[in-house]
């Protein structure tokens, strides 16, 4: 089973874009992002604090819908999901 994780802006520079990740059944959204971000310490530290909690500014989307990072530990990823992880927006 696999999902696509899309990082944007600074997170993309640190972790790459359109990362395809394999995952085990029962993996949460938080667990999946930790698994992928863990491959680059600077990238991991940009997203998670020292307690392994999402930094307060991190924005998550699953299949283009926003997800509260505080809830993402209880959300299981499913095959084919598209997950997006990005910092605060600055368009306009």
């Amino acid at each position: 089973m696999s999902v696509k994780i899309r990082f944007f802006a600074r997170f993309r520079e640190l972790l790459g874009t359109d990362v395809i990740a394999e995952f085990a059944p029962g993996t949460s959204l938080t667990g999946l992002i930790k698994q992928v971000a863990g491959k680059n310490k600077e990238g991991y530290d940009a997203i998670f604090d020292e307690n392994g909690t999402f930094r307060e500014f991190v924005i998550l989307m699953r299949n283009t819908k926003r997800v509260d990072p505080a809830e993402s530990g209880n959300i299981m990823v499913t095959d084919g999901d598209e997950i997006a992880v990005f910092p605060p927006v600055a368009g306009g």
Binding site: A9, R10, P88, V89, G91, G92
Partner: protein
């Protein structure tokens, strides 16, 4: 026209096309790359989501301010100082609605649409800090509060 694109936009043509029988006012907002001692600006978007959100903002603005037309073109890619970043053209029967609708749209874009800017500076590159933690959508209010 609601678009996210690399190419520049023909503002005069969009204004001409926005004019309808009931149009009494058109307000143009043109966001431009400012010379803050930068070489260039690089813009990036989560395009599928950003486009959908721009469409939702345009629809909401039309409904809320009784607008006759809304065009939004947000550019991405590398832009030089003086280039257009964001063009918003709002048409309405009267100036009050046109001004209010235009203001609503720019503030809603800044509040939540997934687009990022990086300044390519002479003394090193820098991501422009976002305006809101969690960027949770288009809840900008017409009185300017959030």
């Amino acid at each position: 026209m609601i678009a996210i694109q690399n190419e520049d936009v023909d503002i005069g043509k969009l204004i001409d096309e926005a004019k309808q029988r009931g149009t009494g006012a058109i307000v143009l907002f043109d966001g431009i790359v400012r010379d803050d001692d930068i070489r260039e600006m690089e813009l990036e978007a989560y395009e599928e989501v950003a486009l959908k959100e721009l469409e939702q903002i345009a629809a909401e603005a039309k409904k809320q301010f009784d607008l006759l037309s809304v065009d939004i073109v947000h550019r991405i890619g590398r832009l030089a100082v003086g280039e257009n970043i964001l063009v918003i053209i709002v048409g309405a029967g009267h100036r009050e609605e046109a001004y209010a609708g235009s203001r609503y749209i720019i503030e809603a874009i800044k509040a939540g649409v997934p687009i990022w800017k990086k300044e390519l500076r002479k003394d090193g590159d820098r991501w422009v800090p976002g305006h809101r933690p969690h960027g949770c959508g288009t809840n900008w209010k017409s009185d300017g509060s959030t």
